[in-house]
């Protein structure tokens, strides 16, 4: 492989990992507050649709991103309302939100824009790429790191932000405490419900960004079910990392690399593309097994 090919591969790895990283940061907020967030997929899909629809209606991409974020947050609040106030089952509610996002986006695409499958308005351009001043001119690094959509860089910023928020700020600490021991948190006079709302709303907003990246960063179009299981890959990364931001981001980069390889190798080799698509899921299942075996081992196989 020539250096140029490698640079291209790494650059597309970064682009493909971006929605995973953003959604994984959302997923680990839920994980830390003690909830499995199956609805990442639905939040993202809604965000992707809203981003394109708003960019098309208002003629401004930044409004698209903003509204994707808002709608993600609102869906997060709805999810929180169901699982806290209504005490609905987490998994069932999560599945329902995914169906809702899938159904509503496809429905509105057809009713509003009269197309089914793909909505690709000519008026919507993809986001302008960011050129990092000095780095861009460096031979190898420039090609890998510079010239991506702004959302790629936002996703990088979100990794330390999530870390600092969870481990160094008060609300973040409360969120983790809620996951560890809700009764103790309640006794300390902190609202468990409030923390769950906070984690899910912030998560919804991050997923909105992830969706906006999918629809606006590359092409400026929405495709039915364009998230295509990425929410679950992000969830898998969270489980792989047991809720740690840095490790989760690393897992997302790895899964992004798998995805990038799958496109490259499809033409050039005998390795079937499904193999790379399958890898994230298998890696995570094996990780879960290893984690469980270790925990059980420590407990002495009670």
């Amino acid at each position: 492989m020539s250096p140029e090919l490698i640079a291209n591969l790494l650059a597309s790895t970064l682009r493909l990992a971006t929605p995973l990283i953003l959604a994984a940061m959302a997923g680990l907020l839920s994980y830390q507050v003690g909830l499995i967030n199956i609805a990442l997929e639905g939040f993202m899909l809604a965000g992707a649709f809203v981003a394109v629809a708003a960019a098309f209606t208002f003629g401004a991409n930044w409004l698209g991103i903003l509204l994707a974020c808002v709608v993600g947050g609102v869906l997060g609040a709805v999810f929180a309302l169901f699982v806290t106030q209504f005490r609905a089952n987490l998994i069932i509610t999560g599945l329902a939100i995914n169906f809702l996002a899938l159904g509503i986006t496809a429905y509105l695409m057809q009713v509003w824009y009269g197309t089914s499958g793909t909505f690709a308005p000519e008026e919507v351009d993809s986001l302008a790429n960011v050129v990092i001043p000095i780095i861009h001119d460096l031979p190898f690094l420039g090609r890998v790191v510079s010239g991506h959509s702004p959302l790629v860089y936002i996703s990088w910023i979100m990794i330390p932000v999530a870390s600092v928020f969870l481990y160094l700020t008060l609300p973040g600490t409360y969120i983790r405490a809620t996951g560890e021991n809700p009764e103790a948190v309640q006794t300390a006079g902190i609202s468990v419900t409030g923390m769950r709302y906070l984690a899910l709303i912030l998560g919804g907003m991050l997923c909105g960004l992830a969706g906006a990246h999918l629809s606006l960063s590359e092409l400026g179009l929405f495709r039915e079910n364009m998230t295509n299981g990425r929410g679950f890959i992000a969830l898998a990364a969270v489980y792989f990392a047991a809720g740690k931001p840095l490790l989760a981001a690393a897992a997302c980069l790895l899964f992004g690399l798998f995805e990038a390889l799958q496109f490259r190798l499809q033409a050039a080799s005998d390795v079937p593309p499904q193999f790379f698509q399958m890898l994230p899921y298998i890696v995570v299942i094996l990780t879960l097994v290893i984690i469980s075996v270790r925990t059980e081992w420590r407990k002495g196989w009670s």
Partner: protein
């Protein structure tokens, strides 16, 4: 006895209310987006049950959903959140197709049971994997079954684009199964086939198992009170593995029936959520075999009528997905309310928090 009857009637009333509320909300969405909701429902109704052929197509659409519903239900009864029926359905469908296009010289009376059995066994083994992981290593089944769905879809789609690709076919599909392996059609101008009776048999079998067999008693006890189950000597781990195998087995048969009765070959990505429809109907049918079957028939009508509605009105069939989501949300709320009330009645308000925890069997187990 009378108490039970009143409770049953209450359940039925609730289900009808849920459906009515969902349809009303669907109508609001249609009106808000400038559609003629009444006309859309009229067309939906007509194309679901309007004439003999439409009814047959509704039963056809309901066939796999009945089975995935039964597969989900039996796991739910044991307190296991198996959302991996979709995966079992895929691998089961492929296994059935494989037997069907490989042993083309075998007579039908051998080949049909062989295909079904292959589908069931492979689907069962697929469900058995997360079952063992849960029972022996305490790996949470929600995440593993969910992720294994994707593995199953990708694995089978690899098999039909790679090793079992039919030369000259553009799409990912296997060769056609032998003619004598195809399930007989029941009426003209509809694909409704004998698979419907297999679906009905699964309802009877699941109902019988849960109510009459020792295994059913064990399943119910493990589901309602695992601690008591352990203390009364029920091998909880073994029951979990058995249930996951049975659940996968029924899911696999559902896939096999789609291959043998409708497509006559394995088509990559053919299901589009039949396993998830099973979850919906099991919830809507309140985890009872009859209720789940009725819910599946209702959903068969929605799916079948939805496609026709899309052709004859401006309303896209994705409306059905929206209705499905709304129904699940309503059921999710209602289930918890019922749960909490039962708990309160039996042991006072103190056990409230516990009911919450138990009603959410899948909270992060970190």
């Amino acid at each position: 006895m009378r108490q039970e009857l009143i409770e049953q009637l209450g359940n039925i009333a609730k289900i009808i209310l849920t459906l009515a509320a969902a349809l009303l909300l669907g109508a609001v969405i249609m009106w808000a987006t400038g559609q003629d909701a009444l006309n859309a429902y009229q067309v939906l109704w007509d194309s679901a049950v309007g004439n003999q052929r439409n009814i047959a197509n509704t039963l056809l659409a309901a066939t796999p959903i009945i089975m995935t519903g039964m597969a989900t239900l039996i796991a739910f009864r044991a307190g296991i959140f198996n959302i991996g029926v979709e995966g079992s359905l895929y691998v089961g469908a492929f296994a059935a197709a494989y037997v069907g296009f490989t042993f083309v010289t075998a007579p039908g009376w051998i080949l049909i049971p062989a295909c079904l059995l292959a589908g069931g066994l492979v689907g069962g083994l697929w469900g058995f994997i997360p079952g063992v992981l849960k029972a022996r290593l305490r790996v949470d089944e929600v995440v593993t079954t969910l992720l294994l769905n994707y593995v199953a879809i990708l694995l089978t789609s690899y098999l039909v684009t790679g090793p079992f690709l039919v030369p000259g076919m553009a799409n990912a599909m296997s060769a056609e199964i032998a003619e004598q392996a195809q399930l007989p059609r029941l009426i003209e101008r509809s694909q409704l086939n004998a698979g419907f009776f297999i679906a009905l048999a699964s309802v009877v079998w699941v109902g019988f198992t849960i109510r009459r067999l020792t295994l059913g008693y064990e399943i119910r006890t493990v589901g309602s009170n695992p601690v008591f189950a352990r203390w009364s000597g029920i091998p909880v781990g073994r029951v979990i593995m058995q249930v996951m195998f049975i659940s996968g087995f029924i899911g696999g048969i559902a896939g096999a029936v789609q291959v043998m009765g409708v497509n006559y070959r394995f088509i990559g990505g053919f299901s589009r959520g039949l396993g998830f429809d099973g979850i919906t109907v099991a919830l809507l049918g309140r985890n009872t075999p009859i209720g789940t079957m009725l819910a599946a028939l209702f959903f068969g009508g929605l799916r079948n009528g939805g496609s026709t509605m899309e052709m004859f009105t401006q309303v896209p069939r994705d409306l059905v997905d929206i209705l499905q989501a709304v129904i699940i949300l309503f059921v999710a709320i209602d289930l918890t309310l019922t749960w909490t009330r039962l708990r309160r009645r039996s042991s006072g308000p103190g056990s409230d928090a516990k009911a919450q925890v138990e009603a959410q069997p899948a909270e992060a187990t970190s």
